[in-house]
Point group: C3
Chain length 369, copies 3
């Protein structure tokens, strides 16, 4: 079950070039789509399924602004309407492929999977792209064979850094484990998600940073996370040398000011694509530092993938197995509350539309089935 | 759903040798069968499933005319009747494996999957085998992961040559595309299929032939296709230097007189085996020419396979997705009309047999269930 | 369908070491479990599924006697009870993972998949382990993609040695085939299985032994097999030079006195793990002899695997396909009688427990659903 009226990330902007055969096939929230660029650079996203006999349009041919199905040669405009059927002159009214609103923002490609007229660009999440001159952002991606709600729960709670990521994002020492698992955060509900902020003070560096500092070095770490549905997760992460304050902004020296922008696109109920980045501000960057951040987050997501894929297999086998809840489930609970409220609203709207349609049919004397 | 009372091709005759362990396992129209040759060369086709505990008879041992199951050693005659049960003398009446009528013709092996008494050899399609002295026929085969009806539709309309096969069987130039997609054919309905004939005149050579002629060379091409159910497709293809006539037989020079014989055997609803050939008449053959034809058709079928496998995945996902029809669907429509008429007749016969059986049981006082 | 109240073999004792990360994940009778050793060497077996969010405990961390889930850090004692939830002090009563009785005996690890209070160690089958000083036992293992009942039937009848194993355990010559398929055995029903004993006299050596003796050598072979549910199979196999007696103990020379101990653990309905050994007594052993026995049984089980996997595929396709029975099915019939009686008893006990529970709920006024 996926929210339809939402922007889903289809990848990085460089995944769709102006190449002769640059047709990007994706599966987004259960729907097969194909993306391509028109000669003016604008993106088109349409269902990857010809309206004639369901051939893959992603095996087709770009012709100017149009896409030609290379099975029997039907040509479609960027609005999905058929503009040519080789060998016949009449074009049936229904000869049309569904298209999806598509927007590029901060180097990500966003596709609206719901009603086109409801597509609201203000719902696209804030992010820092790799072309932002103030940041040295490095990008990557990963495929994970797990249901997307498991990913939401994973990202909505960072206590797992102490365990899953003990050798990368965590710190491996017992004191830090305590600091990571007894966080005092400030959480704000957003229209479509949550914002969470907290400090972890006077701790050793995260494992991936430790070799850059003397062992006795201590830091104040600040996390500012905005998570929105379907599964966008933007973290402003800052590390200061440990200061004297126990609340409010650290008075230590800012040694790393970084953004990591992450979005997860469900292919279907069994796998996701993960598009993510990490990088430092130009003022705190050093040669190789942002590359190290990218390597670190790749390593961490491989750690997550092994946990989540095993978890997914178990949940599939026993979806009704009893579970207990713990304190760290709160964030995930809020995200699921938002997701489920949207899902319910869409189910209700669909039901009402069906009823209205039946009413019209009944009034017109048409059979309701 | 497969027509039962039809001949299905189980492969080329050389797929079943006299070898000690030459037991060919196939799946035909959903049934597992095993084929072997008796010492006199005659073929046997039986269900690949021992009547004892369903072991694979294709893992068995040939013994003269017989086949021994190598699990517990039960031996079956070429008629499927059990002739030996090691360790016991009594052979139960039901100890028998189903056999299927099998015929070799034109180097193809044909199996009748329906009622043996209805097996009618005159229904085996005409073809030109590789042992025909008048033709230099080269053979090949391919596995495709697609439903067999998609293959029927593919072969029943050659307009796709202009698109799928633009670099092989098609010609790649816009003029030829037009010629390939606005064909005036003569179609005749046959008892179990269709015959289609047409000329494409004054066009460049097909892509696979172009390097053999000067660029300005033009040709008259003649197609004569007989397609029969389940999925046999025999094309007599001739290329003449472009002549002056605009109707009737070309008055150009016959430069290539060729036969390509193709048959597709459904394994089950999700894949097929393709057995095919192409070759020139001895009078128009040149060293290497028929090998080139075989290479060309192999290349073309790889092009089809990529289209059909993607299409199959999409149809499986959304079998009810709305589609539109175009002019080029006419040939497939005729083939499906034949297929579906046979399917309906078989469903009706089965129903009547069930009713008759129930009637007899009722009269005999036996329980009808 | 699996018997719950039975000991299933989880592998050889060396499959679970004292290693830092030695967490053995298995699937036994459809349940995922994880096994590890406590510092004192004792084994723990628990469900491989955290009670929080179903993460794999086999991806966790051993901490003394405990196992920590490395997703959110919940720690479980060897009894399955939660002993720590990082970040919170209250531990819910239901925070507990199922554990299974586990016993080591004769170098095999045995897990009881049913009610812990019914775990009866006297039901663990007799075997000869590799650490028995009187025998030179060599061990091995294999995965087979077949339902476990097919394995039971395979092991319960040795007439298949003449066919499946003609080049290994059988002898390949017609006389021996007769001897192997017309056995006069003595069978005794056991509480949970059968014991079968028989002589095969004055036959050539089994194929795997023939190169060690002159071609004219003849032997008396004695088989003493104890088979118990779920699928334990212990064979005391002895070879004597052919003696003069036609009944009772052979008066030939004992040239090989061997034990092969085999147990098959169903992972689920579609595959099994096979743990097995073979070896000679110290008094009849020779350098390399027991290694040869192990190689032979490995080779033979590869022969079985190819038969059983093909059979499994066919039975899955047509579970209701009619079959005939033969004389050699008797042993399997007895094993299935035992298995099915236990399955019925468990189904009945479960039903009664459900009824009793419903009764209690009704009396307490609680909703019965
Ligand atoms: S399937 Fe696209 S044109 Fe036929
Ligand atoms: S399964 Fe064929 S003889 Fe037993
Ligand atoms: S899933 Fe095990 S601690 Fe959360």
């Amino acid at each position: 079950m996926f929210v339809r009226n939402a922007w889903y990330c289809a990848g990085w902007d460089y995944h769709v070039s102006q190449g002769r055969n640059a047709l990007l096939a994706r599966k987004i929230a259960g729907e097969r789509v194909v993306l391509y660029r028109k000669p003016d650079g604008g993106l088109v996203c349409m269902e990857d399924r010809c309206c004639h006999r369901q051939a893959a349009l992603s095996l087709g041919r770009k012709e100017g602004d149009c896409l030609r199905c290379m099975y029997h040669g039907i040509k479609f405009g960027p609005d999905g309407a058929c503009v040519e059927i080789p060998g016949q002159t009449k074009i049936p009214h229904k000869a049309r492929v569904r298209t999806f609103p598509v927007v590029e923002k901060n180097n990500w490609i966003w596709v609206w999977m719901g009603e086109p007229e409801q597509a609201d660009e203000s719902l696209i999440c804030f992010a820092v792209g790799y072309d932002d001159p103030d940041w040295n952002i490095k990008t990557s991606e990963m495929h994970v064979d797990a249901n997307y709600r498991l990913e939401v729960a994973n990202l909505a709670d960072l206590s797992h850094l102490a365990w899953v990521h003990q050798n990368t994002l965590g710190a491996g020492d017992p004191a830090t484990v305590g600091a990571f698992t007894t966080i005092q955060d400030e959480t704000t509900m957003l229209e479509r998600g949550i914002n969470t902020r907290y400090w972890i003070r006077n701790v050793p560096a995260n494992a991936f940073l430790q070799h850059l500092f003397p062992p006795e070095a201590r830091f104040d770490l600040h996390f500012d996370i905005t998570m929105t549905v379907p599964c966008n997760w933007i973290l402003h992460f800052r590390a200061f040398t440990a200061g004297s304050r126990t609340e409010g902004e650290s008075d230590g020296e800012l040694v790393a000011d970084t953004y990591t922008c992450q979005t997860i696109c469900p292919n279907d109920e069994h796998s996701v694509e993960y598009y993510f980045s990490w990088g430092a501000s130009r003022t705190t960057d050093l040669p190789g530092l942002s590359d190290m951040l990218r390597e670190t987050v790749e390593q961490a997501f491989l750690e997550d993938a092994s946990v989540l894929e095993a978890q997914h297999a178990r949940v599939m086998e026993k979806p009704q197995h009893p579970t207990i809840d713990i304190i760290h489930d709160a964030g995930a609970g809020k995200m699921f509350w938002v997701l489920d409220r949207l899902l319910q609203a869409e189910a209700k709207a669909e039901e009402e539309a069906a009823l209205a349609g039946a009413g019209r049919s009944a009034r017109a004397g048409a059979p309701a089935c």
